[in-house]
Amino acid sequence: MMLSTFLLSSFLMAAEPCGVRLQAFSIWEDLEGNRIVEKHSVFPLGNWSDASAFEGVIVSRSEGPKMSLMIELKNSPNGRAIKTATFPFQAWERDAKSLVARGFNARQFLGNAGNGVYTMTVLKENEIVCRETHGIVSEGAYQ
């Protein structure tokens, strides 16, 4: 496992960026008429901060089966991963055209990280599809 993670990491530099293939989403509530309804927004991945938080990530169902998300957390872009996890992409009940990284809770994973970077790698049957790296900015910790 350790070896495969190491080998995977060594290929990461060559991976292409995900762009719109991997998107973030948030779930929120609003008033519609007299009722409270749940809605969701989908938007490009970016830096994580209080004002730029998201709940999870999705890919298009057209990417096919056996997709998974690997996420790494680092203190700096060239640092060692301090936290790594993998989540399978599965059907998303909010949008039949999308697959959601099941079990990934961005607030839990990134919310208390302070400053650093996170890297998301989309895998298909353990082959790297694409990769994105963004910052984690904790306002107040960095004057």
Binding site: R35, S41, G114, Y142
Partner: protein, 448 residues
């Protein structure tokens, strides 16, 4: 008699707290710590204020007065849970004993010079000048050891900027520069003071959901009958002209320390009313993004701030942005935490959001509203609407504003590309905004 009272004041604060006489001005000799090697406990220490203005608070964290830079007070204890000291004060309008942040005082006489300490933040900017706009030299990693070589550098942006030298080289960093000392570990110099813990059990307690809504009793689950029928609430509100939220705000403003009926409050702050299980639905069509857990624990405001901000929200919705589906809708985030009085890594990393005066607001966007990040550099950012929003906030007493689109006339601060940091501090303009506020049930049904 006088000397007897003076002797009483020298014993630990618990015994002296009830003495009903004015506290004498601290005497540095009286306060000097005894040598640590003798093992003798230090019961007090003379300190002076380094911030331009330092807030003095009760044990519960309620702001009661402020003292100026250079004011001398006597530290008589430290809070084991917060970075704050219990102090004796001799200043007009202040109680004789109260609490202040330990980050903004230094030992009188000896000061901080030559004190060795470490970086407390995950990364701390080392700058070329003692200001947030000073040239960035490098980021000092957490636990980097520094020695303070000048505690009061010239032209410092605030009293918390110090000049430091690195005790060991850090790759890519010069050997000295300027940092904000608020992000350095508290010095050991107060560690000999006795612990005090007078805060009620309410602090740090888990109170479940925090949203000031029927969700607090679990009655607003999705689909539950009658949950959140806003029209019912509007109809009910039209029976009488008074608005409960506004009434309670005014009571709190008139009599600080008053607990509002029907709304969550703590340490003199009131929670902004939020609807829904997620705490997203704010007053007057506003949206509360990224609510902390328990839901809404990050939405506590000073009553004057809450009142002026509500007045702004109502005006904005009524006159500028009636459509809650529009990108002009106000999306606000952190105000202040219910219990976190100061910075706490991983819990409340917001040093400028502790008094309930300041609010984070996302930039306006063109097109439709969405709960998604927006920066002023991004396509879809609506500068003209943002300028209008800022101008209107000023009409309601907003002053300090950080937002990095300088075309908006706001000040630059790192990390403020994606939100405006705005403060509605209690003052003549915010109080007037509050005095003149009449809630319109059609514009702000969420408040009914």
């Amino acid at each position: 008699m006088r000397s007897f009272l003076f002797l009483l004041l020298l014993v630990p604060f618990g015994a002296a707290a009830d003495i009903p006489v004015p506290t004498p001005r601290p005497n540095p000799e009286e306060a000097a710590p005894r040598p640590a090697e003798q093992g003798a406990p230090v019961t007090s220490k003379a300190v002076r204020v380094t911030a331009k203005s330092l807030r003095v608070r009760t044990a519960e964290g309620i702001h009661v007065c402020s003292i100026r830079r250079g004011t001398q007070v006597t530290a008589i204890g430290r809070d084991p849970n917060q970075d704050r000291l219990k102090v004796r004060i001799n200043a007009r309008g202040c109680p004789s004993e109260a609490y202040v942040s330990s980050a903004y005082v230094m030992p009188d006489g000896e000061g901080w010079n030559d004190i060795v300490t470490k970086v407390e933040a995950p990364q701390l900017a080392l700058r070329g000048r003692p200001s947030p706009s000073g040239a960035f030299r490098c980021g000092l990693p957490r636990d980097t050891e520094v020695v303070i070589i000048n505690e009061e550098p010239e032209r410092a942006a605030s009293g918390s900027w110090v000049e430091v030298a690195l005790t060991n080289p850090v790759s890519g960093c010069p050997d000295r520069g300027f940092v904000n000392s608020s992000y350095l570990q508290p010095s050991d110099v107060f560690k000999q003071l006795p612990f005090v813990n007078e805060v009620g059990s309410g602090l740090n307690a888990d109170h479940g959901t925090e949203a000031g809504t029927p969700c607090a009793d679990g009655s607003c689950e999705r689909g539950s009958p009658g949950a959140q029928n806003i029209q019912d609430l509007v109809d009910a509100s039209q029976v009488g002209p008074k608005n409960p939220f506004l009434e309670e705000l005014r009571k709190m403003i008139r009599n600080p320390g008053t607990k509002p009926q029907g709304f969550n409050s703590h340490r003199g702050l009131i929670q902004m009313p939020l609807l829904g299980n997620r705490g997203n639905i704010g007053p007057c069509g506003s949206f509360h993004y990224n609510p902390d857990q328990p839901v809404g624990v990050d939405a506590y405001a000073n009553p004057v701030t809450a009142c002026a901000f509500t007045a702004f929200l109502q005006d904005w919705k009524k006159n500028e942005c009636p459509d809650r589906e529009g990108g002009c809708r106000i999306a606000w985030g952190n105000i202040s935490h219910r219990t976190q009085i100061g910075y706490k890594r991983g819990v409340w990393p917001h040093r400028t959001h502790t008094d309930g005066h300041c609010i984070d607001v996302r930039p306006a966007r063109s097109g439709a509203f969405a709960d998604s990040p927006m920066t002023w550099r991004q396509r879809g950012y609506d500068r003209e609407t943002m300028k209008k929003m800022i101008a209107k906030m000023k009409d309601y007493g907003a002053d300090t504003m950080y937002f990095n689109d300088r075309a908006c006339g706001t000040a630059y601060a790192s990390g403020h590309d994606n939100h405006l940091h705005v403060c509605f501090k209690p003052g003549p303009k915010t109080r007037a905004a509050c005095d003149n506020l009449v809630i319109d049930p059609q514009t702000c049904p969420e408040l009914m």
